[in-house]
Subunit: 866 residues, 2 copies
C-alpha cells in the first residue's frame, strides 16, 4: 500500500494516497491482501480497474454524496500515472477508505485520448474541443485549456459498477443548469451537458456488509417444468390498487409473490432490471402532454447495476447514499422468489446501450473504448442492428469477456436462475472487422488490404535464393485514414460459431443457468429454430408458435390445423428435425452444427409478450392503436394476426363479449396443453387491456400497470388460468423432455384417428396417453363457427370425464370444485355431459375447446370401493 501522492481527501474519508492497485479483477473490489493486520482503524482498501484502449490520460473523479445530490462536480480529480497505474489497456489504482465512509463516496472516470470516436482517425491531432464535441466519442481533456473553448468533461461510469447513483426518485428531472458550465472549466456534470433528463451519475462503492442468503441458491428447476410469467417490476405493483407497502419496487414484487405462487407460476422473467434512465428521451409526448418515459427500460446504462429506482430505498424518493442498498433489495427479492419455488430470469439487453448513436450521451463505453464496445464503420458511424442507434460489438474479445463477467456476476452474486437475451441474434454477429492501417507493422486483413498497400520500396538485398530482401515498409506515409475489413467475415455477419455464444454456452459457472434467446434482431435476421444453441443449451422465444396458434384459434384458412398441431407437440418441425434439410444449418456449415435435435423445452411457447397486443387486445382489435406514443401510429408490430371478434375495441355487444371470453380461454388452453415451456405476460390472466396499443414502452401509467382491482373482479378468468396451470403440473405428459411418438399421442377429427389437415380445417383434436402420474387426456379445439360433435376415442377401461369446456361461462368452464364452484355443482354439471359421453360423443361448440380426462367409470370405482 505504498502511497505516492497525498490526495487531500481525508475529510471525505479517504486515508493516505493513491496506490498502484491491480489490473484484475476489473471494476471495483475490496482488497484483502493486507489481511487481518490491515485496517486497525477499520479502513478498507478499494481496488479499481477499468479497460480503456484509447486513454492516454485517465482521471479518477471522486464525488461525495452531498456533492452528487447538489449536482456539483467531483471533490477531487486524481490523475493516474500511466507508468504506475496502467497494465496493458487496463488502468488501475487503489484507495484506502475509512471505516463507515464508503457510502459517502462515489466515482467516475474521465479520459483523454484519441481514436475512440467516430472520425477519430481523421481528427487525430486536431484536438480542439469543438471537434471533440461534434464527435462525442472522442474525449479530449485539453490540458492547455482556453484554446477553442472549454474542454469536454464527460464523467464516465465504470462498466462494472455494481450500483449507480443518479436521481433519487423515479422520473424526477434534475434542476435546470445553464448549458456551458458555471465555473469556466467546462461541463461539471452530465446534467450540465445534456440537460435535466440526465441526472449526474456516479458509481457506488460495493457493499461491505454480508448478505444473509439463508442458504439460498438458484433452484435448477427443469426447463420443461417451468411456467414463465413475464413481468415489469414497476408496473406490477405501481397501481394504487396493489395495496403494497413499497409500490413499483423489488420489495413490492416480493409482497405479491404469494399471488404468483397461488397462480402456479414458478418462474418470473423480469423485464430489464439493469440501471437505465427512465427520462432519457426528455420530450413531452404531443399526444398526452406528459413526458415520454422509457418505462420498459430496454436501454441499459449499467449492466452490473440493478435499476436503482426499482429499490424502495430510492424509488420512493430518498438518499443517494443508500444506493448501494439497491443490491441488497434485489437480493431480498431473489431470495423471496426462491423461497416460494419461483425462479428469476432476467431480460438482459446486450445488443445495444443507452449511449445511442453519435448524437447520444457519452456515459461509459463510448468514452472508454468506442471501437471495442460498439460495431463501428470506418469513419465511426454506428451500425444499427438493434434499431436503437448503436450495436454492441458482442464478439470482440474484450466485450465478450465483459458480457461473460456480467452474466457470471448475476448468477454467482445475485443468484438469478437465467437470462432472456433481448434481440439475441445480434450476439451471433461478427464484431467489427474494419481495421485501421495506422501501424507500420500492422498485419493485413483481407484482399482489400493487400490491394490497398502499394509496392514496398526497392529491394536492394541479395537476390540469390531470393530470401534476404531488405525492404522499406512505412505505410504510415500512405495516410492514417486507410481502412480495410475482412471480406470473408465482414462486420455484422452472422457467424457459424459466434465466440460469445460458444463462451456463454460452455461456461462452467453458467452451466445450469437458463438461456433463452429472442432469436431475431432489427435487421431482418430471424433465427427461430436456428439460433446457435451448442448442444441444446439455449431455448428460444418461439415466435412461430405464437403465429401458428393465433392463426388457428382465430379461424383462418391456411395450413394452420397442421401447424397448430405442431405447436401442440412442442414444435418438432422447428426444434426436432431428425435429419437436417436445406436451410437447417445455422451460420455456415463449417462448425458442422445444425439446429436439430433439441427437445420441446427448446421452445418457449407464448401467445403474447410485452411486445405486441395483450391477450385481451388480441381478441378485441384487428389493428393497433398506438397514437398515444406520438409516432402517428407508425411504431409497433404491423402483423398481429389478431381478430376483434366482430367489433373493434370496447363494446357492449353481448355476443362479441362472449366470443372474446371464449377466445381468451382457447388461447390459454392452447398455451398450457402444448409441449414446451409456456410463458404468459403479466395481466393476461385477468384480461388486461392496453386499448389496442401494441407498443407501450413509453407510458408510465395504468396502461402498463397491473390493475389489482380488475384482477379481483375478473376472478373467473384468473381461476381458469390457475386451474389450467395446475392441470399441467398434475400431468407430466403435458411437459415431456422428448418428443412424443405415436404410442403417446394420437390425432383425431370428428372421428377418432381421422384428423383433417386441409387448409379449411377448423378442428384439431388429440388424445395423450397418461401414465402413473398422468391421466389420459382428450383435448379438442374447434375454431370454426359451427359446433362439432366429435366421436371420442374408445377407452379400454374407464370413461371420459368433462373437465374444461370454454363454451361454458365461468366457473363452469373448468369443472373443479373450489371456493367459486361447490362440489355438488361440479357433480351436477358433469352429469349434464354424461349422456353424450356415455355414447362416446362430445359436442364442441363454435370457437371453443374442451379437455376430457379419463377416469375410472362409476362401476369400476364402486367395485374398487368394495
Amino acid at each position: 500500500r505504498a502511497s505516492t501522492q497525498p490526495l487531500g481527501l481525508e475529510n471525505h474519508g479517504v486515508v493516505g494516497g493513491l496506490g498502484r492497485g491491480s489490473a484484475s479483477p476489473l471494476g471495483p473490489s475490496w482488497v484483502t491482501s493486507g489481511g487481518p493486520s490491515r485496517g486497525d482503524g477499520g479502513e478498507s482498501l478499494l481496488n479499481l480497474a477499468v479497460f480503456s484502449d484509447v486513454a492516454t490520460r485517465l482521471l479518477l473523479c471522486v464525488f461525495t454524496k452531498d456533492g452528487l445530490e447538489g449536482d456539483q462536480g467531483p471533490v477531487a480529480e486524481i490523475e493516474l500515472d500511466p507508468k504506475k497505474n496502467r497494465t496493458g489497456h487496463v488502468w488501475h489504482c487503489s484507495l484506502c477508505v475509512a471505516a463507515g465512509r464508503h457510502k459517502d463516496l462515489f466515482y467516475t472516470y474521465r479520459v483523454a485520448g484519441v481514436g475512440s470516436g467516430p472520425g477519430a482517425a481523421a481528427a487525430s491531432g486536431a484536438g480542439s474541443s469543438e471537434v471533440a464535441e461534434q464527435r462525442p466519442g472522442v474525449i479530449f481533456n485539453n490540458a492547455e485549456e482556453g484554446e477553442g473553448g472549454p474542454p469536454v468533461r464527460d464523467f464516465l461510469l465504470d462498466p462494472y459498477a455494481v450500483a449507480i447513483a443518479s436521481r433519487a426518485r423515479w422520473g424526477h428531472l434534475a434542476p435546470e443548469v445553464p448549458r456551458g458550465g458555471g465555473d469556466g472549466r467546462g461541463y461539471s456534470s452530465i446534467t450540465d451537458r445534456f440537460g435535466p433528463c440526465w441526472a449526474q451519475h456516479a458509481c457506488c462503492l460495493p457493499s461491505l456488509e454480508d448478505f444473509d442468503w439463508e442458504g439460498d441458491r438458484p433452484l435448477n428447476l427443469k426447463m420443461e417444468d417451468l411456467v414463465i410469467y413475464e413481468l415489469h417490476v414497476r408496473g406490477f405493483t405501481q397501481h394504487p390498487s396493489s395495496g403494497v407497502e413499497h409500490p413499483g419496487t423489488y420489495l413490492g414484487l416480493t409482497e405479491k409473490l404469494d399471488y404468483l405462487k397461488d397462480l402456479g407460476v414458478n418462474c418470473v422473467e423480469l423485464m430489464p432490471v439493469n440501471e437505465f434512465n427512465e427520462l432519457e428521451y426528455y420530450e413531452v409526448s404531443p399526444a398526452n402532454g406528459v413526458y415520454r418515459y422509457n418505462v420498459w427500460g430496454y436501454s441499459t446504462v449499467g449492466f452490473f447495476a440493478p435499476m436503482a429506482r426499482y429499490a424502495a430505498c430510492l424509488g420512493e424518493g430518498g438518499d443517494l447514499g443508500r444506493t448501494a442498498e439497491v443490491v441488497r433489495e434485489f437480493k431480498e427479492m431473489v431470495k423471496a422468489c426462491h423461497q416460494r419455488g419461483i425462479e428469476v430470469v432476467l431480460d438482459v439487453v446486450f445488443n445495444h446501450t443507452a449511449e445511442g448513436n453519435h448524437q447520444g450521451p457519452c456515459l461509459s463505453f463510448r468514452g472508454l473504448g468506442n471501437r471495442v464496445y460498439y460495431m463501428l464503420a470506418p469513419q465511426g458511424e454506428y451500425y444499427n442492428y438493434s434499431g436503437c442507434g448503436n450495436t454492441v460489438n458482442c464478439n470482440h474479445p474484450v466485450t465478450r469477456e465483459f458480457i461473460l463477467d456480467c452474466l457470471r456476476y448475476w448468477v454467482v452474486e445475485m443468484h438469478v436462475d437465467g437470462f432472456r437475451f433481448d434481440l439475441a441474434s445480434i450476439l451471433s454477429r461478427n464484431h467489427s472487422s474494419w481495421i485501421q492501417e495506422d501501424h507500420p507493422l500492422s498485419s493485413s486483413v483481407g484482399s482489400a488490404a493487400r490491394e490497398a498497400r502499394g509496392p514496398s520500396g526497392s529491394a536492394t538485398a541479395p537476390q540469390a535464393g531470393g530470401v534476404a530482401g531488405a525492404m522499406a515498409a512505412n505505410p504510415v506515409a500512405q495516410g492514417l485514414d486507410e481502412y480495410v475489413h475482412d471480406e470473408d467475415q465482414p462486420t455484422g455477419k452472422p457467424l457459424g460459431d459466434p465466440p460469445l455464444l460458444r463462451a456463454i454456452s460452455t461456461d462452467p459457472i453458467l452451466k445450469d443457468t437458463k438461456l433463452i434467446a429472442e432469436a431475431w434482431d432489427c435487421d431482418g435476421l430471424n433465427q427461430v429454430g436456428s439460433f446457435p444453441h451448442y448442444g441444446g443449451r439455449w431455448s428460444e422465444w418461439n415466435g412461430i408458435f405464437r403465429d401458428n396458434v393465433r392463426n388457428f384459434i382465430k379461424g383462418s384458412d391456411g395450413p394452420w390445423a397442421g401447424t397448430f398441431a405442431g405447436a401442440i407437440c412442442g414444435s418438432p418441425d422447428v426444434y426436432g428435425n431428425p435429419e437436417p434439410g436445406e436451410g437447417d444449418w445455422w451460420g455456415n456449415n463449417d462448425g458442422g452444427m445444425w439446429r436439430g435435435t433439441r427437445g420441446p423445452s427448446a421452445s418457449v411457447n407464448f401467445v403474447t409478450a410485452h411486445d405486441g397486443f395483450t391477450l385481451a387486445d388480441l381478441v378485441s382489435y384487428n389493428s393497433k392503436h398506438n397514437e398515444p406514443n406520438g409516432e402517428q401510429n407508425n411504431d409497433g408490430e404491423q402483423h398481429n394476426n389478431s381478430w376483434n371478434c366482430g367489433q373493434e375495441g370496447k363494446t357492449e355487444e353481448k355476443s362479441v363479449i362472449k366470443l372474446r371470453h371464449k377466445q381468451l380461454r382457447n388461447f390459454a388452453t392452447a398455451l398450457f396443453v402444448s409441449q414446451g415451456v409456456p410463458m404468459l405476460v403479466m395481466g393476461d390472466e385477468y384480461g388486461h387491456s392496453k386499448g389496442g396499443n401494441n407498443n407501450t414502452y413509453c407510458h408510465d401509467g395504468d396502461i402498463n400497470y397491473f390493475q389489482w382491482n380488475v384482477c379481483e373482479r375478473q376472478k373467473g378468468l384468473v381461476r381458469f388460468f390457475k386451474k389450467l396451470i395446475r392441470l399441467r403440473k398434475n400431468n407430466p405428459s403435458l411437459r415431456q423432455s422428448a418428443y412424443m411418438d405415436g404410442s403417446r399421442i394420437q390425432w383425431h377429427g370428428e372421428k377418432p384417428g381421422e384428423p383433417d389437415w386441409t387448409d379449411t380445417s377448423r378442428f384439431v383434436a388429440f388424445s395423450i396417453k397418461g401414465d402413473v402420474e398422468s391421466n389420459d387426456l382428450y383435448i379438442a379445439f374447434n375454431s370454426g363457427h359451427s359446433q362439432v360433435v366429435a366421436e371420442l376415442p374408445i377407452l379400454e377401461s374407464g370413461c371420459w370425464d368433462a373437465t374444461v369446456d370454454t363454451s361454458k361461462p365461468a366457473p363452469y368452464d373448468f369443472l373443479e370444485s373450489d371456493d367459486m364452484l361447490g362440489e355438488v355443482e361440479v357433480m351436477v354439471a358433469k352429469e349434464q355431459c354424461r349422456a353424450y359421453l356415455d355414447d362416446g360423443f362430445y359436442p364442441i361448440g363454435p370457437y371453443s375447446c374442451v379437455i376430457l380426462k379419463r377416469v375410472l367409470s362409476k362401476d369400476e370405482s364402486s367395485e374398487l370401493e368394495d
Copy 2:
C-alpha cells in the same frame, strides 16, 4: 457466512462450519465481503472454487503442516453439498481461518464421478475400483467400500493453487510406504500410490501479507532493444563456485544479477519455474547409477505456483509451512531484476502436464476434467502432440480460460514481463471435437454423427404441410459408446484462428506483455514465420536463423551466403514478405490472415538454446553424445549443423583450439549484429561444454550448472560477448523496428557493392549507415579457409577503424580499452591495421569476421580540436 455443519477443525485453526462460498473467482481467495466488521478475532474467510465437469461428489481434504510432513492423510475430508456448494460445473465453499493459522493449513480435493477417464464411457456403471485403477482418470470414491478392494483415493491439486507443498528439499525421496495403504481405507497419499518419487502434496493458502513492490512494474522495454539470456534458475547458481548465499534458488539468481547487468543482458528468459517434480521418473540412470532427474522442469504440476524448491526457504531443506513464502521470494527476484533494468520472461509449458499418459499419476486436471483439460480420443487415449504423453486441450473454452487466467496472474500479481511458450504450435490446434452421443437431446456434429444416427421412429403426426411431426428420439437406446467428431475441424487440426491465441493476443491486461512462441511441436507442425500472430503480437524463436547461421559459419556449400544475409537483416524472408505467396497463409485462409508484414523484432535470433548443443559443443562436436541420458543416444536432435573443427570433442591440438575460439566469436558476432532480438543461453559466454550431450534435461550436476570458476578463467570470451552487446546497445542501427532498405544497408564482396551469393560463396560483408546515435559500420564474415583481402567501401568523410577481428587472440579480438586492454595497447593494435585501412583494404582471415567503425580521420579530428 451461514455455517451448516461443524467441521471439528478448531484445533487446526478453522473456526465454525463450512460456508456456501462463491463460484467466482476460481481457486483460493480471501474474501472481503464481511469487511472491517468481520474478523474481530483476526480470522479470515477463505473462498475455494474449482471446476469439475465429472464430479458427482467432491470432498475438500484439509491437511495440517505436521500431517503433511509426516506423510499422513488429511485431518478432515469435508464432503461438499452439490445442492449448496455447486454452481454449474464449479464447486465452491468457504472456511473461516483463525488468525495466524493459515500457514498451518493445506488442502486438496477428491472427487467421485464417472466419465473423466480413458474408457470411462465404456466403464460407466462398472464402478469397481479395479477398473478405476486401470484408468487413473476415473476417480471413483466408492461409498460402499469393501467391494472389489480399496477405493482409489487420489488427492487432487487445485489447478489455481498459488503454491504447492510437497517435499521440503530438492531431490529428496519421500519415505517408502507400503503400497496399498495402511489403514484399509485405501491410499492415504500419492506417495502411497506412486512411491517415494511423488511426495504427498497439497495446496497452500494464499499469503495474507502485502508484498512491498516499492513501485515496481513490468519494464515495457521495446522488443527490438532486448538482449535475452536464457537461464535455468537452479543451474545458474547451484555450482559451488557461484559463492552465493542461496545456491540454486530465486534468491541465488538475485545475488548474481549484477553479473548479468554487467554482461549487458536486459531480459532473462527463465526455463520453467512452475512447480514440477524433479523426481518424477523415479528411476536410476544405468549410465551413471544416480537418479534420473527432471532438472529442466518441462513437466508442470502447478501452473500458478512457482517451483517451491527454487525458493531458499525450501530448496535448502526446511519447513513446509513456509511454502507460501515461495511466492514472496519469486517476487523479490522479479523486483530485483527490474531494479537492474532486466525484464523477466517465463518459459511456460502449456502444451502438456506432468500427469503424462494413461499410466501417469492423477494429480489434478485428470481427476477434475480429463476430457476438458486433455485432448482425448473416444476411448480415452491421450493425443500426444507434445511427445510427453498428453496434450493440453488448449482451445477448449474452459482450458482456454484457465490459461488466460494464469497468464494474467503472472503479469498482474508477479509482475513478469512476458512469456516464451514451449511447443506453442500445440496452442493453435483444435481442441478435442469428439463428442459422446450420450444425451437424448445432444446436437450432432459432423456427417459421421448424422450417418450414425438411425431413423428416429415413426412419425405419427399430421402430414399436411409436413411440419408437425411428433417423433421418437432416444439415442440412448443406441448405446452410450457411440462417438463422433467434427470431420471439418478434427481434433488437433491447426486452426486458422485459434481461440486461445486470439484471446491471448487481444487480452487487455496482456497487451504490453512479450509473447514469444516456440512455433513448432512434436508432431511435425512447424510454424516458424507463420505462427498466428494477430497483427504482430507474437515473436518467435527463429529456428531458421539458427540453421542458416550455423550452415554459413561452419562453411557449407549451399545457398547459405544468401540466407545468412537474410538472417543478418532480421529474416524479412520469414517475417516481412510484402505480398503473401503460396504457403504464406497460416491455418486456413478463412480468417484472411497471412504471416507478413511484421518487423525484425518478430524474430528471436539464437544460435543455441537449452535444447541442442551449447555454443562450445557446436564447434567441438560433429555428433551428439547423449549416452549418459540412458537412451542409447537415441534422444536429442539429430540434425545439429555442427562442426568439430577437425577433432571430435576435447583436444590438445592447438590449431583446432584456435579455430574453435574463432568460431565461437564468429557465431557471437553474427548473433549480435543481426536485426531482431538476440538470445544467448547461459554459459555460452564462457564456452560452457556439456561434453557433446545435446539433451541434458535429466542431469542434476555440473553439466547443467553454470561454472563460475570457468567463467572467471574464460575472461577473454566473456569480455568479447560483453563488448559485442555494448556495441549493439550503442548502435541503434543494429536494432531497428523496421526492415532496412538500400539507403541503409549495402552488400559487398571482395569488392564493394559486389556480393557473391553463389552456392560456393564463403564471404558475406555489408555496411550499415549510421545516424546521430550510430556509427557507420562495415562488417564482414569469412567462413572459408583462405584469407579474403576485401576492398572497403569508400567513405565520404572519416575513415574505417578496426574494432573487431576474431582472427586475433583475446583481448585483441575486440579493440576497446578496459581492465584487460590498456589504451596504449589499443592504439598500438589499431596502428597495425592502419596501413591496410588507409589503402582501403582489410584482410579477413580464414574463419574470421571483422567489424570496422567509421571514425573521424586524424586530420579531421585534429581540425576539430582546434
